[in-house]
Amino acid sequence: MPTIITCFKWVIDEAYIRRGSSGDLDFSAVDYKISDYDRNAIEEAVKLKAVHGGTVASLTVGVPEATKGIKDSLSRGPDKAFFAADASFNNLEPSQTASLLAAVIRSFITPYDLILCGEGSSDLYTQQVGPRLAEILQIPSISFVQKVELKDGKVVAERRVEEGVEVVEAPLPALVTVLPDINVPRIPGVKDTLMASKKPVVTIKKEDLPPFPAPCLETVEMKAAKMDRSCEKFGTDAAEIARFVDVLRKKALI
């Protein structure tokens, strides 16, 4: 029966980021969430378990506050969680995240059969951590997957490419990154949240892991993207619709 690891990132909910007056990013009102597509990865892991049995472990590397995310992940169905936590695990670059995840998996969750990740994180969306992690672990990886099955020691996945869909097969253990349309992630209920608090969590300290590499990329600037629009509002009665159409006509759009 398979052991499935599902990796997730605890991210800033980008919907709460504001543009500061000087074009900087205002994070003062932000909330955090499990990155959107990582929720699909967790859901898929739990669905595969429903078919094949086995265990599902959720895994994240992050700052100690991400413990909220660990609880959230467990309320979505995994049996246990692994949490590599340290205040310095903040603003990690993809090469560092992959390296830390690989270290945790090697030391604490081996052997395993399948690793699932989201296609990309909703904050930086570099789409690298999955394939980088597979490269470090020296296992095959299949990205941008819309359907996944386990069959006779293999993973068979439909990956989406520009020309259409490729059905790809790889021996286990393997890593798969999933697209949002692979499933509809559940919304945990009160019971799920209560059950989650009883599930085992293995917390791993920085000292328990080999030193992680220095970042390769350095962010030299991060500024709010500009969207200057006139933001004029219209109603729906005949006069307002006529005024709207008139504006379009004046702009030579119709």
Binding site: T126, S143, E166, E169, L217, A225, M227, L253
Partner: protein
């Protein structure tokens, strides 16, 4: 030794990378090399369009996956020390780039919208979108080679110049990958390329059912445009093909007029319409984020507003 390398599966993408590759190579006073799969493309074409050197890779055999080439590319890079490797940001190449970067312990800047050499501090500065498009992130790579993926369409295709010469060399044939492509389901493209459309009516989850999209089609027709959509419409509902999805994971559009119907305007979508000249929207929620990125917004039910708009347009 040094150089700029480009890697793309398709010729049209390779030519786009040659354009920026040429600029970087000239500024950095180095040569431009293109990695090419032997079966698909003609090396001379790449040389005519700017490559100084062609690295010819053995054609992938039937069912082979690109990842078979990870060791070949990494070994070549280790021997030749390129300054930068530019990949086309297509599904397979994004994957390949991440694995090669990992193998070489170097940084990879994904989906760059701009790549520029800064002679002052001799770094390559790259820009990309972050936080769903709410921010522009500028990065440098402190390790070598600097690796980059560049979305198709970011640069113009390089044009052939008469009299250009270059060298060609063959790379070793890789061992087959354990990853096997067992079936390819090619889709036929049924829609127009909306990146060139002058008017776009975008549909979002405000539509109750697929049949209702006719309303949007009628409006697009009346305005002389095409329809586009949000990601949930193409990816989750499968009501429209993916190439019509506008935004971070879809296409960037630059019409004169964009009209969103039942589109909430979350940043991942809004970032795809940044270059539209005029943005308008119909949404029943007056607090929908689309209104803060729109020039003109109608607060109302699209099922009520669109027929009225169609009527009013008839009278124009």
């Amino acid at each position: 030794m040094s150089g700029i390398w480009i890697i793309a599966e398709k010729k049209e993408h390779a030519l786009e990378l040659l354009t920026i590759g040429r600029v970087l190579a000239a500024q950095m006073e180095t040569k431009l090399s293109a990695f090419l799969w032997k079966d698909q493309n003609v090396p001379e074409d790449y040389i005519a369009c700017g490559a100084d050197e062609i690295m010819l890779a053995a054609p992938g055999s039937e069912g082979q996956s690109l990842d078979a080439f990870i060791p070949v590319i990494a070994a070549e890079a280790e021997n030749n020390h390129p300054d930068a490797i530019l990949f086309a940001a297509t599904a397979r190449c994004r994957d390949l780039a991440a694995r090669v970067a990992s193998r070489m312990n170097t940084g990879l800047c994904s989906s760059c919208t701009s790549v520029a050499y800064d002679a002052a501090d001799r770094t390559i500065k790259m820009e990309r979108l972050a936080y769903g498009g709410a921010a522009v992130q500028k990065v440098i790579c402190k390790t070598r080679p600097v690796m980059v993926t560049i979305p198709p369409g970011t640069f113009e295709q390089a044009k052939a110049e008469a009299g250009r010469t270059g060298i060609q060399r063959e790379l070793s044939t890789p061992a087959p990958s354990v990853l096997k492509v067992i079936e390819k389901k090619t889709k036929v493209r049924e829609t127009k390329d909306i990146t060139e459309s002058r008017v776009i009516v975008a549909v979002g989850r405000g539509f109750d059912k697929k049949e209702d999209l006719d309303l949007a089609r009628k409006l697009a027709c009346a305005l002389g445009g095409e329809i586009g959509c949000t990601r949930p419409i193409s990816e989750e509902n499968h009501w429209l093909p993916e190439e019509l999805c506008i935004g971070l994971s879809g296409v960037q559009v630059k019409p004169d007029f964009y009209l969103g119907l039942g589109v909430s305007g979350q940043v991942q979508h809004a970032t795809g319409i940044r270059q539209a000249k005029v943005v308008a929207a119909v949404n029943k929620d007056e607090n929908a984020p689309i209104f803060s990125v729109a020039d003109f917004g109608i607060v109302g039910n699209l099922y009520d507003v669109v027929p009225k708009l169609l009527e009013a347009l008839k009278r124009v």
